[in-house]
């Protein structure tokens, strides 16, 4: 029975190769000394240096980060509220419809969401005069709309696992509902809120489709910039730019995962120690 599961290991290797060979080859070619993206011309970091002096790129990076932080924050607040409503208000009229409506954007094609957002913004500009032009505001609003659902899903699943009795216990000990929310519910679901924020942040950071529909002149996010540059041919500086993006997003996701994992590991270890001490 000690035979290695050769089949599983092979499948795992294929899977990893499938996912990561494109990214790794892109990273390797970002250090290509040649001007031609597909011909190796020796190791060089010159594309990274040229990126740092490219104002257009730096502007796009900053804009992307601003939009990502703002939209992730608003989406987290709204998404958390929706998640709590879905998990805690068991019997309200139209609950199924509500949860259906909240989670529908998860499976909606991005193109549809993009067109719908665009239509809405055009109509709004026409009838109420706000937002007057498309740009930072409209992109941020659109990002909030479609990243909120991810936060809702994460918060909802965390709340469903949590023991509802702890909220009742707090109320039993004299806390009004808003105090229960502040003292008990929010601290308990804070890891879920944090990972929801990070997910919303990364989704906003690398979105092309919806941004493309809702952006206006002068508002060029990093993915849009890369997209428009690629239209003129893949150059090594795009590889370098993409590598930087991958590294930033990778560090963010890895850190969030590591933090959550460490908290969970420490908890398990404590439980074990408590049992041993009790023997």
């Amino acid at each position: 029975m000690n035979r290695r599961p050769v089949f599983l290991i092979t499948m795992l290797c294929f899977g990893f190769a499938f996912f990561y060979i494109p990214i790794i080859s892109m990273m390797v070619y970002s250090f290509n000394g040649s001007r031609l993206a597909t011909v190796w011309g020796g190791f060089s970091t010159k594309w990274y240096i040229s990126l740092l002096s490219n104002r257009q790129v730096l502007k796009a990076v900053i804009l992307s980060l601003e939009i990502a932080v703002l939209s992730a924050t608003v989406a987290t607040i709204l998404g958390t509220m929706a998640g709590i409503a879905m998990a805690r208000f068991k019997r309200f009229r139209g609950r199924t419809l509500f949860s259906g409506l909240v989670t529908a954007p998860l499976v909606m094609p991005e193109v549809i969401t993009g067109i719908a957002s665009l239509m809405l913004f055009i109509l709004m500009a026409e009838y109420i005069g706000w937002p007057a032009t498309r740009g930072f505001t409209t992109v941020t609003l659109a990002h909030i709309t479609f990243s909120m659902v991810f936060v809702t899903t994460i918060v909802h699943s965390r709340l469903v696992q949590a023991d509802e009795a702890i909220e009742e216990a707090a109320m039993d000990l004299g806390s009004r509902p808003w105090q229960v929310m502040k003292d008990i519910t929010l601290p308990v679901i804070s890891p879920a809120i944090l990972s929801g924020w990070l997910l919303a942040f990364t989704i906003s950071l690398d979105d092309v489709v919806i941004t493309n529909f809702t952006t206006g002149p002068g508002t060029t996010t990093l993915p849009i910039l890369i997209w428009s540059k690629v239209k003129l041919g893949v150059t090594p500086d795009i590889n370098a730019l993409a590598t930087i993006t991958v590294v930033i997003v990778g560090i963010g996701v890895f850190t969030a995962g590591w933090l959550l994992n460490r908290a969970e590991k420490r908890r398990e270890l404590d439980i074990q120690l408590a049992y041993q001490a009790n023997q």
Binding site: D163, E168, A169, L173, S175
Partner: protein, 387 residues
């Protein structure tokens, strides 16, 4: 470990205060005609209860009998559909949980996972009019009461199940509630810890004088812990009384069968004279005498119930009115007592519990497999039940 909890008389005597108060004061907690419906399902059906100050009162019943719903209505988590709840003369029916002088110990303990033991206990105090040092004193006092002073800076997941149970108790007692509700307080503990904790709970109740209402499905736990108990079934209270009253004088087949084990026989009343009824019990193959209950008339069908430990087993026919013959079909030796399963001529099988008060060898015991034996019981030990 302490001695087994079987001596009911001694346990009742441990509540002198409750017994004394029962005579004088008006009830401390009054539940008047409380009904709770969830849609078309009736969870609790016109329940009336009166509980005295300082009692440990148990609500006993199987799952789905409505005991937890009743407890949650006392805590304020559910609103009664009908009826009112009074605590210490005040109408509590419409008050939310955070305005009631009632605290609850949850079955899952519901400790706040992100707070230390100390913070858990202190949580309820922040809404009270106290200085910081008074609060700290109260927390220290509570942790000392449950012997957890050394664990005040641990988080709930860093302590054992038994310790968590005590933190939950300390937290619920910290506000000095008029009434403490305990939802299956011992269910999550293992057997050994459960027995020790029972006595600890009684001790703490005695020290604080708080009125306890305990919900449990464990009849032994209810009998050991409580000064009085109520047996519930299908949302109704079937019988209320002390452990002795409910065990020795059950008022229905359901209560008799729920508390302890018992043998039931279909029978017919032949004659009633003073407090003794003569009963034809074809399944027993005899006409026997039993203590009469009010409202019996000759010819009336009735259930005769006898608890296994009230029967005496012997090889020769005993003196007296209630002698039944049978054959030993099964025999289980437990050391302090033995359980016999006796097959009667009618084919019915009856259980007998016999204390092994004399030391005898393997071949000298009262009866062995397939032996013909006689059973007898005192007329006052036989229970007559109308339903």
């Amino acid at each position: 470990m302490s001695e087994p909890a079987t001596n009911i008389g001694a346990k009742v005597a441990q509540f002198p205060r409750a017994a004394a108060l029962a005579e004088k004061e008006p009830p401390f907690i009054r539940v008047e005609g409380v009904t709770k419906r969830f849609g078309s399902f009736t969870a609790v059906s016109s329940v009336n209860l009166e509980i005295r100050k300082g009692e440990i009162f148990s609500l006993l019943g199987g799952s789905g009998c409505g005991k937890t719903t009743l407890l949650r209505m006392l805590a304020g988590f559910e609103d009664p559909t009908e009826g009112r709840i009074f605590i210490d003369g005040q109408d509590m029916t419409d008050l939310p949980p955070y305005e009631r002088p009632v605290n609850m110990m949850f079955q899952s303990y519901a400790l706040f996972p992100h707070m230390t033991v100390e913070k858990n206990v202190a949580y309820g105090l922040k809404h009270m009019d106290m200085t910081a040092s008074q609060r700290a004193d109260r927390v220290r006092e509570m942790l000392a009461l449950v012997q957890l002073s050394d664990f005040s800076h641990r988080k709930p997941h860093q302590i054992s199940g038994g310790q968590r149970q005590r933190v939950a108790l300390a937290r619920a007692l910290a506000k000095q509630p008029k009434l403490l509700l305990l939802d299956e307080p011992l269910a999550a503990l293992d057997k050994k810890l459960r027995e020790a904790t029972q006595f600890e709970l009684m001790d703490i109740q005695d020290k604080t004088g708080t009125t306890f209402i305990v919900v449990t499905h464990d009849q032994e736990e209810a009998m050991t812990l409580s000064s009085r108990l109520a047996v519930m079934d299908k949302g109704r209270i079937m019988q209320t009384g002390t452990a002795t009253e409910v065990y020795e004088y059950p008022n229905s087949k359901l209560v008799a069968g729920f508390i302890g084990s018992i043998n039931f026989f279909e029978a017919t009343i032949r004659d009633v004279r003073d407090d003794v009824a003569t009963v034809d019990a074809p399944e027993l193959g005899a006409t026997v005498e039993a203590r009469a209950i009010p409202g019996l008339s000759p010819g009336q069908p009735i259930t005769l119930a006898i608890r296994p430990e009230k029967l005496t087993i012997s090889r020769s026919k005993p003196e007296g009115p209630n002698a039944i013959s049978g054959k030993v079909r099964d025999l289980a030796y437990f050391g302090k007592d033995s359980l016999y399963r006796i097959e009667l001529p009618s084919g019915r099988v009856l259980s007998i519990n016999s204390v092994n008060s004399r030391r005898v060898g393997e071949n000298e015991r009262v009866a062995d497999w397939e032996d013909a034996v006689w059973l007898s019981f005192d007329p006052s030990s036989a229970i007559l039940l109308k339903d």
